[in-house]
Symmetry: C2
Subunit: 326 residues, 2 copies
């Protein structure tokens, strides 16, 4: 690979001049014609500046760690794509890791990424009670912690659940249950709190162990055992709602004729389920994009206020909700 010396030789300048010309922070110190000559020489030789060396000098590596539970959960790919595009705007790249929700694995990834001089982190894995390291720029995406102090970008869970409950009440439903997501995740907890708030009191709730179809199936059966006369179920997210579908089918109940079901997220193909899933559309890609921008802001100014950005959501009505049976 060509070195800075090769570039300098070709451009007919000293290596220090070539180095200054190639670095956007010091380029202003060099004559514009020389800069052009050095850039052309670098291009002709295919010179790739050595970021590892630069990383040691400037203490930034232009890499951000992105830690998520599992890329196979359909909510994450469009978020990660938004993150990558947001980082790229500033010349950053994403180091990606999956944890499967395992805190030990998360810590290992975090440490390994820090050891590789990562400038900051975007975490989609946080539990409500996580104590996050304050010394490295970090932004939470989709999920957040109860304590403030760490910037986050999330969807408006509360408004979304209120929209769903209002739509169901409008269809004549009053016996509405909730299959909530896990209590230790802000997404599960905020939607649960909003449901309790929207229903104004004594409403039946079961908690799914995870945001998965299987956990939704199991928690729906528990809900039906407790309250057999429900006419609608607000599920903690779309995958839990698909678990509801399966649980209701196993009891011979039809959606929406016997029980209406709603989801949350509007994952890809939510419209292709049978029936199509009424849900809340969160702006997946924008959530990712905004979290990247917020991280870059944080890296530039670590002492700035820890903003919490909440993005608006919208109700998407499909075949899984209908008038309440009498």
């Amino acid at each position: 690979m060509p070195t800075i010396k090769d570039v300098a030789d070709r451009a007919g300048v000293h290596a220090a001049t070539a180095s200054r010309a190639l670095n956007s922070a010091t380029r202003g110190m060099v004559n514009a014609r020389t800069v052009t000559r050095v850039l052309e020489a670098a291009k002709a030789l295919g010179y790739a500046p050595n970021s590892a060396a630069r990383s040691l000098r400037t203490r930034t590596s232009s890499v951000a760690g992105v830690i998520i539970p599992d890329l196979r959960n359909p909510v994450f790919p469009p978020i990660v794509r938004g993150i990558e595009d947001g980082l790229r705007e500033a010349g950053y790249m994403a180091l990606l890791g999956n944890t499967d929700g395992d805190a030990v694995r998360e810590r290992e990834l975090f440490d390994a990424m820090r050891g590789r001089q990562t400038d900051g982190f975007i975490l989609a894995t946080s539990r409500r009670d996580d104590a996050l390291p304050a010394e490295v720029p970090t932004v939470l995406v989709n999920r957040r912690t109860d304590a403030g102090g760490v910037p986050s970008v999330t969807a408006d869970n509360s408004v979304g659940v209120h929209m769903l409950v209002r739509a169901l009440v409008h269809l004549g439903h009053s016996r509405i249950g909730h299959v909530a997501g896990p209590r230790h995740l802000s997404t599960g907890w905020e939607r649960y709190r909003a449901f309790v708030d929207a229903m104004d009191g004594a409403e039946p709730v079961t908690f799914a162990e995870a945001f998965t179809e299987d956990a939704g199936f199991e928690a729906t059966l528990r809900l039906l055992d407790t309250v057999p006369d429900l006419t609608a179920i607000v599920a903690g997210n779309d995958l839990i709602a698909l678990g509801c579908y399966a649980a209701l089918a196993s009891r011979g109940l039809r959606v929406p004729e016997d029980i209406s079901v709603t989801g949350f997220n509007d994952i890809p193909f939510a419209d292709r389920q049978r029936p199509g899933l009424t849900t809340i559309r969160i702006p997946h890609y924008d959530i990712g994009l905004e979290s990247a921008r917020l991280l870059l802001e944080r890296i530039a100014n670590p002492a700035g206020p820890a903003k919490r950005i909440v993005l608006p959501v919208e109700l998407v009505t499909r075949g899984s909700t209908g008038p309440a049976r009498n």
Copy 2:
């Protein structure tokens, strides 16, 4: 952050000894009890070895660049997850980038990742005629180039298409058309060649511009305009097949009563389409995992043979195929 000197002080050894004890390659040179003491000291202090510095010394960074077209195409998340797990087995991490199929953006990403001391690349973006740089370890995943010389991991496209055609023939179909994927991608081309081979001659084919629903829709309309009496369509992949569904519906044709449709890949929720999609299941996760292992092998032995790994596929029969109408 603690330094190697802090670790050495706490363990009561020289810095050079601590360094050797922390590096798995040189650990054997140090007394076992000393190794334990150093590792305990490193752990107690939260010492993260500085990979950027190590990268300069050893010329490896334990990072691989992973370049894909778009994470939002549902075929890629499980492949990327497999890649990450495969890299992790050897302490490697994945730098992820999306190109949207743009060759310029791909080249920029490639160069930027090289500049960050990436040890090698896994590319899911290659066109059949790509000339790949030979000087850096590279593995192609899912797609490959016509020329040999670069290791690859792909699904068995040929066997998959033969399975589909055989299943359709078995259902009484003889007027079978093909909405192929793009000619410049090996996935599109190999499946097209296999279709021609399986059909033994004069069969109608149109090519979709891309592996998307929209392109599949448009190419299906062209196919129907040319050959109105088809009873079955073999689509280049699942997304193209979903475009077929929409095109057939726009002409008032039912799937499978009027025309049977097949896909390729078995993306998540292929079973939830209306009707469920008969398709070829490729081992997404294993394709990713194997490509990571192959890259690590390549990094360890760049002069070894450029293996081409083809993984087996299976036929998944669902509601989109039925007996040929008379």
